[in-house]
């Protein structure tokens, strides 16, 4: 595959990957995200409901956590994981750990890496790992790696080991890969480890670069093992070392503000698990990513000045003095202002009855939505927002209906993919800073 960069501004890369996949026929835009799956399905969604969503990214992300236990089945099936999961024409990226499930550490060894599937722990040796890849036949996969989350301030020795082991695994994977008929047109992604130690990170990057990999995965940055600042610095340093003509993936980063920080530091591809996590909490993504100020909307705003003033008063009142009715009104006024104009202080914040601002999403289990007949997000063109209301979602969540998950997943994926499109647009327009500011204001 080839990476065509249309622009690089302050480390932010904007471009396209072409001739991607085993048939060399796919392309994808970067920065972008992957379609997150569990056991090969976008959670809650059938093929038909998934196709209701606009902007579904090309790469389908599978994990060994959710699929390794079916190795024997795939070996007998022989037609590859893509067809097995009902996505025979999709670009398949196979990683090891599921970003939405906790991964206990302390089980990796010099020769094995462990994953946790539905049936418990599965220990992968190199040959088992490669046997799985050959049975699955993905388009991309990352080499076996020792990326288990390390506790903060782990010993240098342990971190050093993770880098060495991973390089060793990479070399062995490559050996099998290069001799495999079945993996001939697949790409191996090299994995960069190194914990929280800069020298180890750089060593891992420089060594990995020497191998014939299709791209790079920045791993081991999930979880709480280091401060955000350190994490971001390490990311910058690593991407600074890497060749510009190969894509950079990162695992474990999903929140909009974090995504933007990583885009600014040369990361190209992100996992798409964040919308799923939001769905499982009964929440809908609602953050505003429209960084452009729309002149028509500006006018609407100025006409609504009196409401604005009232709004201001209500927002500053404390929870206990706000009646349910007032809360409702707050809400309706907030809705009127959510016109995609990039107006932050009113439109993009949603108050629940606590008067607290929730980051990036609204909690539809909250009673304030019981009779709110507006869509999840005003102006959102997704199937859920075009056809259903917050009140209906509230009802579905209350009665524990499966449909709640389906509708929320549709909206949340749509919203997230549209966010990534806005990142690409902002890069094209040179407005990333505006988008970053807009998102930062909505963070708790």
């Amino acid at each position: 595959m080839k990476l065509i960069l249309s622009s690089v501004v302050n480390g932010c890369r904007h471009g396209k990957l072409i001739e991607v996949g085993r048939k060399g026929s796919k392309s994808l835009d970067i920065p972008g995200c992957l379609l997150y799956t569990r056991t090969g399905t976008a959670p809650h969604l059938t093929h038909d409901t998934l196709s209701l969503i606009e902007g579904v990214p090309e790469p389908v992300h599978l994990t060994l956590s959710t699929l390794a236990e079916h190795q024997e089945v795939l070996e007998e099936y022989k037609e590859g994981i893509g067809k097995f999961i009902g996505m025979p024409d999709s670009l398949i990226y196979c990683s090891v750990n599921d970003p939405a499930s906790p991964c206990p550490s302390g089980y990796n060894t010099n020769k094995t890496v462990s994953v946790w599937g539905g049936g418990g722990r599965i220990e992968l040796t190199l040959s088992k790992f490669m046997a799985i890849q050959q049975a699955f036949k993905p388009d991309w996969y990352h080499c076996m790696a020792d990326g288990e989350p390390l506790p903060p301030r782990s010993s240098r020795k342990r971190i050093n080991k993770s880098v060495d082991r991973t390089l060793g695994f990479l070399d062995e994977c490559l050996k099998v890969h290069q001799n495999s008929e079945v993996l001939k047109n697949a790409e191996i992604i090299g994995v960069i480890e190194g914990g929280d130690i800069l020298e180890e990170r750089l060593r891992s990057a420089r060594e990995t670069m020497k191998r014939p990999v299709g791209g790079f995965l920045l791993d081991g940055l999930q979880g709480e093992s280091m401060t955000d600042d350190l994490k971001l610095d390490l990311i910058s340093s690593v991407t600074g070392e890497l060749p510009v003509d190969k894509p950079r993936l990162i695992h474990g980063i999903g929140k909009p503000d974090e995504v933007l920080e990583c885009v600014s530091r040369g990361v190209d591809l992100f996992e798409g698990f964040f919308p799923y996590q939001v769905t499982e909490q009964g929440k809908a993504l609602s953050f505003n990513f429209k960084y452009k100020v729309d002149p028509e909307a500006e006018e609407e705003k100025s006409l609504a000045v009196p409401l604005h003033q009232i709004q201001g008063q209500q927002l500053s009142s404390t929870c206990t003095s706000v009646t349910h009715e007032q809360c409702e009104k707050n809400h309706i006024f907030a809705m009127l202002h959510r016109n995609g104009s990039g107006d932050n202080d009113v439109g993009s914040k949603t108050s629940d009855c606590d008067g607290k601002v929730k980051a990036f999403s609204i909690d539809l289990k909250n009673e304030q939505f019981r009779d709110d007949f507006s869509p999840l997000v005003e102006g959102c063109p997704c199937y859920c927002c075009k056809n259903h209301t917050r009140a209906y979602l509230y009802h579905l969540l209350l009665t524990n209906e499966l449909l709640a998950g389906v509708l929320l997943m549709i909206h949340n994926l749509h919203h997230y993919f549209a966010f990534f499109q806005s990142i690409r647009d902002a890069l094209k327009d040179g407005c990333l800073k505006d988008l970053k500011e807009l998102i930062a204001k909505q963070k708790v």
Binding site: R38, T39, G40, T41, A42, P43, H44, L45, T46, H47, D48, T49, T66, H70, E72, V73, E76, Y77, F84, I85, G86, G118, R370, D371, F373, N387, H388, T389, A391, Y392, H395, L402, G405, V406
Partner: protein
């Protein structure tokens, strides 16, 4: 109901443009019998969560159904389990007639909403007949056959169905509540029923059971782990066109999407069954259809359920 009224009725709330049928809450007298107290006034239910009591009277039930705006509404009937015998059955039957009249009087929307009566009388032919004779005197758009499909002997079940359809007017729909399984549907169409409802196909889907013309597949079972056929090779539903039994087996423990796939298939199966029935009736070969159906489902004549053979025979369909 106030909330739904604000939402433009149930159609508006759900955003469903097609027909909706609502039940009256009567069945809960059976399913929640421990929490229910029945009097002439109505049914008093007490909440197991907070002890709060609600009175569901014929008037209240119709009021709610009016607010929901469903296209077909059911009367509130006095329902007893089909396994109950004795004077309670008779009491319930007469009360259902009185409640039917109260429902008719309470219906604020007879032009747009069709109120159906529900024939009761348990498994007692005489009581059923009395109920039928009375209820058909009322001018209502349709009739349901109730009080069956609750675990009674199939041999009694079909006789009550046939008795009801013999009395009910030919030009009004006959709705058999709570049916059901494929065989029951086929036989009851032969006995003269038009409409059915059942939780079975979707509920069983959520438990991993896929319906097929020869029975059902328990996709959770290990035997399907490496079965790379679709649920039914002849089925054209979205699930069968794209997914294997093996994948559904693997997915079942992991994501709700498996439930959706199997639900879609089961609904397709039911709809296809009914449409095949209609087609064969129109083409005047329904008896042949029944024969084929039974053969496919049971394999050989000695496996055909006795009650089905008897029921079909009673309407002149002789199975080989």
């Amino acid at each position: 109901p106030d909330l739904i009224a604000k939402a433009n009725g149930l159609h508006g709330f759900m955003n469903w443009r097609r027909a909706l049928l609502t039940d009256s809450g009567g069945f809960q007298m059976v399913s929640l019998v421990e929490l229910a107290e029945v009097t002439e006034e109505g049914v008093r239910f007490s909440s197991p969560y907070n002890g709060e009591e609600i009175l569901l009277s014929p008037e209240k039930s119709i009021e709610i159904q009016n607010a929901l705006g469903s296209d077909i509404m059911m009367q509130l009937d006095d329902v007893v389990s089909s396994t109950v015998t004795g004077p309670r059955v008779e009491e319930a039957m007469y009360r259902s007639i009185r409640w039917l009249d109260r429902c008719i009087a309470a219906n604020k929307n007879p032009e747009k909403q069709n109120l159906f009566a529900i024939i009761q009388g348990g498994l007692d032919a005489e009581l059923r007949k009395k109920c039928l004779k009375e209820m058909i005197k009322r001018d209502i758009p349709g009739f349901a056959i109730g009080g069956l499909s609750g675990g009674e002997e199939k041999d009694h079940f079909w006789r009550m169905v046939l008795l009801s359809t013999e009395y009910l007017p030919r030009e009004k729909p006959r709705y058999l509540m709570g049916v059901g399984y494929a065989t029951d549907l086929v036989v009851c169409v032969a006995l003269g029923c038009d409409m059915f409802d059942c939780v079975f196909p979707t509920r069983t889907a959520r438990f991993g059971s896929a319906l097929v013309p020869w029975g059902s597949l328990q996709l959770k079972h290990r035997q399907y782990a490496k079965d790379f056929k679709p649920i039914d090779e002849e089925c054209t539903c979205p699930t069968c066109k794209r997914y294997t039994r093996a994948y559904l087996h693997a997915l079942f423990k992991s994501d709700t999407a498996a439930l959706h796939h199997i639900t879609i298939h089961n609904i397709a199966y039911q709809l296809n069954l009914m449409s095949s029935i209609r087609e064969s009736i129109q083409q005047r070969r329904f008896p042949e259809f029944i024969q084929q159906f039974m053969k496919r489902m049971y394999g050989s004549a000695d496996k055909y359920p006795r009650w089905a053979v008897d029921a079909l025979s009673a309407v002149n369909v002789k199975l080989e």
